[in-house]
């Protein structure tokens, strides 16, 4: 594994470049196919409302996949991620229009651990709400 960030070059508080990810209905259909998660709450508005949701919502795992890109783009080698966990706190509601929703993800180094490991804490927001909680990745730097 060859991270392109060195352990020495980061400090607690170092911010990772933030990113904004679009989430459209089309993206959810594509993700359903690629992941095999065909739960209709992610593509069928009628069904979503029947089970008490405001509209179609994104797969939590789709949001989780987007959020870690802030880390993998920063470190270069996705294989440098040794731990990654999230809590799904609020759904990402995706309206049926051309824009869909967006998820804004930021991250910063929270702890420097042994063995060139650092813990990065991520924040993921959609429509002003925190959609992931306890979102943390442990990454091995060079």
């Amino acid at each position: 594994m060859t991270a392109n960030r060195t352990y020495e070059s980061v400090e607690v508080g170092t911010e990772l470049p933030a990113q904004t990810f679009p989430v459209t209905r089309a993206a959810l259909v594509q993700y359903a196919g690629a992941s095999g998660d065909f739960n209709p709450i992610h593509w069928n508005e009628r069904f979503a409302r029947e089970v008490g949701l405001p509209d179609v919502i994104a797969h939590g795992m789709f949001t989780m996949a987007e959020a870690i890109r802030v880390v993998t783009d920063w470190v270069g080698d996705p294989g440098a991620v040794v731990e990654y966990g999230v809590r799904f706190t609020k759904p990402v509601v995706v309206p049926d229009d051309d824009k869909g929703a967006t998820v804004e993800v930021s991250g910063k180094v929270a702890v420097k651990l042994d063995d060139n490991l650092v813990r990065v804490d991520l924040t993921a927001m959609s429509e002003g709400k925190k959609v992931l909680g306890m979102s943390r990745a442990v990454v091995r730097l060079a």
Binding site: A34, I68, R69, F88
Partner: protein
């Protein structure tokens, strides 16, 4: 109805091997819009020290969640699957999943709790390759929401 605590610690038999293909990884990376070359270009992956293209960190969930289906659909456990939502998800990697892997998943029920009428089940999936080496462990918290008062 509270779930049977005697299921805590129960381990289910390993799943049949899932063979990870390069094109399946590409399909997944495209679906999440991730253009990291390590997912699609074997030479780029090799330059990073990987023997073949690697999968994005959350790719393995498709495999472990299917395995967890043994647990959530176990009629003896009695979880109401129609009310299940995903609470937490965590992965701990020994190495990234890569093309050519033949992965088996062994699922264990780590805990069963009842919180405010919701059934909360924690399932751990241990993922091993064909040589029996550990690749990744996935922890999935499933919450069966309490049925609404009639």
């Amino acid at each position: 109805m509270a779930l049977d605590q005697s299921f805590v610690g129960r381990t289910y038999p390993p799943t049949p091997a899932y063979e990870v293909g390069r094109e399946k990884i590409r399909e997944f990376a495209e679906a999440v819009g991730d253009t990291n070359p390590a997912y699609v270009d074997p030479e780029a992956a090799e330059a990073l020290g990987h023997p073949d293209v690697i999968a994005p960190p959350t790719f393995v969930f498709s495999i472990t969640f299917k395995a967890a289906g043994q647990v959530v659909r176990d009629p003896q456990l009695g979880l109401d699957y129609s009310r299940v939502v995903h609470g937490d998800q965590k992965f701990a990697y020994t190495r990234p999943v890569r093309a050519g892997d033949r992965l088996t998943v062994t699922s264990t029920i780590e805990s069963i709790k009842s919180l405010a009428g919701n059934d909360v089940v924690d399932v751990r999936g241990e993922v091993h390759d064909a040589s029996g080496e550990h690749v990744v462990t996935a922890w999935t918290k499933l919450v069966a929401r309490a049925a609404e008062e009639a």
